[in-house]
């Protein structure tokens, strides 16, 4: 799964970390950090949930 993150709009809501803690975390600057470069299919449902729950629409799933 290829993911792109729009860090320009990330506002540190942390909902991605809540939905998919294996894949995302929020750093001290309040920006999302991706923990697994190309997460496997087993994380798809969680990453989709993370994308849906992001108030700033940061997460795009490319494939």
């Amino acid at each position: 799964m290829k993911i792109t993150l729009d860090l320009d709009v990330c506002a540190g809501h942390g909902q991605c970390e809540d939905a998919a803690p294996e894949v995302f975390t929020v750093n001290d600057q309040g920006l999302v950090v991706q923990l697994i470069e190309n997460p496997g299919e087993e994380y798809r449902a969680k990453v989709e949930d993370a994308a849906r729950r992001c108030p700033a629409d940061v997460i795009k799933i490319e494939d």
Binding site: A11, G12, H13, G14, E17, V26, R52, R53, P55
Partner: protein, 397 residues
């Protein structure tokens, strides 16, 4: 009963996300979405009092994304005015009657009014919809003196936006502190100090009796007989859930429509609710609650859709509510539910970076995180373990 047509009443965040979730749950029938507001895709509300009001965003930015497979039948510019649940039908404001197999209640909330204030008087504003945000943005374009009635989230955000633009701002609040309903008196005082430090004339513990002026608002009149000069008045005293159209069906409509844990409306097997309008038993905190925040609407949407399509596989919704606000240089994030302020767990108010704990009966129930975004989500998870305050020092997440 076969599901051929689902009516979604309300086309904002909760209605849209529930409709999309119906497709994710495998529903292939007709989705009819009825909404009073004209825009589709609907706009996202949090930016209205921030980026849109500040003029930072073009108006087409801030619309919600819509799933490609949604394929809705849209009825915009109309509101639902009545539900006859025993006949599975809703009536719209033009008399149209729609039958349904399943119904989603997502009619949200509307600004509370003060009987003594006519919001059609030029210069008096409320802020809930996109057109209202645009109207207020245009109204604060010169250098008007702005008086905000109500120091809740919206009132405080509008104040911060207006001060960022250098305007003369007064807030009139009935309670002793701003944001008191969420943050309590002690952290409310912290918020009050922040607004005053940024030049807001914050007056708490005052009662407004009305507005007056010649042809437009010129002042806000207070119950003590004095008045405050105003070019623009923003009425921001909270919202009420839009449940009037549900009356007459035997539902519990005290502070939102009462649902069960799966967000099915109590008393109707084919009706669910999501968003600001929904009151449900939140197992996490052992009480029913109604939550007016963005994340709650999105999370409830998924559960409500599941309940409607797969009632045989019930999923309960229990949640730690989350709300955020940006005011001046403070990123304010609150997770959990309201309790008594307990203590500062991390950082300090002096450095404008801290986590404050709220507790009920010795258990942590909420955390106010200011300029601590990396910490907020840790506390959100921590809250689900119902941490004891007397052991919290050694157990911080």
């Amino acid at each position: 009963m076969p599901m051929n047509r689902i009516v979604v009443a309300g086309v904002s965040l909760a209605g849209l996300r529930t409709a999309e979730a119906l497709r994710l749950e495998g529903f292939t029938g007709e989705i009819v979405m009825v909404g009073e507001e004209q825009l589709f895709p609907p706009y996202d509300r949090p930016p209205l009092s921030k980026e849109i009001l500040k003029g930072l965003w073009q108006e087409d930015r801030g619309r919600l994304k819509v799933a490609e497979n949604l394929d809705p039948t849209l009825i915009l510019g109309h509101r639902v005015t009545a539900l006859r649940a025993s006949d599975n039908e809703v009536e719209l404001d033009d008399g149209t009657v729609l039958t349904y197999d399943g119904l989603v209640i997502a009619t949200g909330a509307s600004p509370k009014m003060m009987g003594s204030i006519d919001t059609s008087i030029p210069g008096v504003h409320v802020l809930r919809t996109f057109p209202e945000a645009v109207a207020l943005r245009e109204a604060i374009g010169g250098s008007p003196k702005v008086v905000i009635i109500g120091a809740g989230w919206i009132g405080c955000e509008v104040a911060a936006t207006c001060r960022d633009r250098g305007l003369d701002v007064t807030i009139l609040e009935y309670f002793p502190q701003p944001l008191e309903r969420t943050l309590g008196p002690i952290m409310g005082a912290w918020a009050g100090a922040m607004h005053r430090a940024h030049g807001v004339d914050l007056r708490c513990g005052v009662s407004v009796s009305g507005v007056s002026g010649e042809g437009r608002v010129e002042r806000v009149d207070l119950a003590d007989g004095t008045s405050v000069a105003a070019d623009i008045v923003v009425l921001a005293i909270g919202v009420f859930p839009e449940t009037k159209w549900l009356e007459g069906n035997g539902f519990d409509l005290e502070n939102g429509v009462l649902c069960d844990e799966t967000l099915q409306v109590v008393g109707a097997s084919n009706i669910v609710a999501a968003g600001d309008v929904c009151r449900w038993p939140n197992k996490m905190f052992n009480r029913t609650m109604r939550v007016e925040h963005w994340s709650n609407a999105v999370e409830q949407a998924a559960v409500a859709a599941h309940t409607l399509i797969h009632p045989d596989e019930p999923k309960g919704y229990s949640a730690v509510p989350y709300v955020w606000s940006d005011q001046y240089d403070a990123k304010i994030q609150y997770v959990g539910t309201g309790g008594e302020y307990h203590s500062i767990l991390e950082g300090s108010t002096e450095e404008n970076k801290f986590v404050a704990a709220y507790a009920t009966d010795g258990v942590l129930v909420g955390a106010l995180c200011v300029n601590s975004p990396a910490r907020m989500i840790k506390y959100k998870r921590f809250l689900t373990t119902a941490p004891q305050m007397d052991l919290i020092e050694e157990n911080l997440p």
